[in-house]
Amino acid sequence: MEYVIKTNNLCRQFSSVKAVNNLNLNVPKGSVYGFLGPNGAGKTTTIKMLLGLTKPSAGTIQVLDQSAPSENYLHRIGFLPDVPNFYSWMRGDEFLTFVGQLFDIPKAELNRRKAELLEITGLKGVKTKIGGYSRGMKQRLGLAQALINEPEVVFMDEPTSALDPIGRKEILETISIISQRSTVFFSTHILTDVERVCNRVGILNHGELIREDTIAGLHQDYANNAFRLGIIGDPAPFIQELKTKAWVQDVHEEKDSLLLTAFDIKAVQHEIPSLLTKHELGLSKLEQVEMTLEDIFVRLVKS
């Protein structure tokens, strides 16, 4: 598999806080990679290191086979920050011209790309200065400027987090379009967005990558072997014993039930009844759970 972003033991420390800790990312070419994590997990710091805006404390970065931080790959990437800010005195099309000139795009080609991107982002014909744009319009302009050089990799830092549902929908649709020709590396904590557009995820927590897989891989590992048990009685000793069993992957106590993830489904079916009898507990329900990405994410982060 060809990777367009690779990091090796990447670290970033701010005084005593390890914002990113031994991060090993592998982003395959052509993927839409959801870089997931709760607020403060280190997502933005990682993106800044990948773009050369922040220097790593340790470790190495490779973007498009170039060692980072370097100016050598900047003409091949696009970047949309979480809250894009522009020169407020410019119009949107002027900003795209300015960015296009920075990439040295010939005038005719630049005009063609500008027209196409303004059309895609719904900013065609907008003559207002950027200072008068709404948040959503700025986000769409941010997306257009990130794509003006037809980048091989597009970095997006929480592109939808500040948008209303319609704005989010529009941005996600645009991401789907650009994913046909670019790799998209997209940080977020909105899981429904990831499920909608990403085919691969990296889950970051406290600066550490706790899981990197395809969406299908995550579901395969967690979806079919999860059970929800309704217990009648005090479940504490039962949970204690479950945790000692080799076939149990994880036990998570919910409000009125237990969420059990197992390595061996048959063991659940055969051993749970005897364990319940042993602990003199009743069973109100036993159901196989179709876990959402949110369930998986919460469990991974909490564990």
């Binding site: 050369g52 900047l74 003409h75 920050p81 800010n85 020169y87 005195w89 410019m90």
Partner: protein, 254 residues
Amino acid sequence: MKNFGTMFAKEIKEYLRTYKIFVVPGLFLLFGLTSPIITKLLPSLLGSLAEEINIILPEMTWIDSYGQFFKNLNQMGILAIILTTMGTIAEERNRSIAQLVLTKPVSRTSYVLSKYVANLLLITLSSILAFFAAWFYTDVLFTGTIFLNGLGATGVYIVYLAVILALIILASAMTKSAIAAGGLTVLGLVIFNLLPLFSKALSKYSPAVLTDYIYQVAGGTAVSSEVCGAIAFAAGTIIILLATASLLFSRKEL
């Protein structure tokens, strides 16, 4: 120096759109127009203010007119430049615009230098424009005005401004706050003004001494070797300030 031209063109366009291109030259022009008139009217103004007291003032000359003009530029002109330029990098960092631009193929040196050169062009043209206005009115109101003395003094003044501008750019590259950048610039100016106290060479050539040379060149009493030495010293100072600004900005996390 990647993309210096595009960044420079953007700066000039920004001056046009935000009216900075009219504000700075307009202010300078105002000093150029009013300084000779104030100089000419000063004796009668003072006389009318204190009718009981007999104030005897020597007759004002074209040298006094030039002197008044450069005094105004040295005070209010420099203040205006600090106020209009102190946020040039700091504000763009603070608002994350620098982040967006510097993830494109733009070197940080180009980014810093484009701002310096564009501002230098603006203050050079403003100073020349103001000088022509001052010279015209001085020539109309006083006899014996020497054009070249004023032009030479304007040249020295521009060199002095170039040093201050480099100081502002350095201060702006060091911080995210425009106000802090302004404060750092004032601190730098204080240090520049203290330098002549430390050695004989610095008392002749340090940038702060350029303000004395401006008046001497205007009055025709300057020693050209000393002025040239100070200009060369100023050029060296500018290079050091800009190189430091570029280096510090390259190491800044955005």
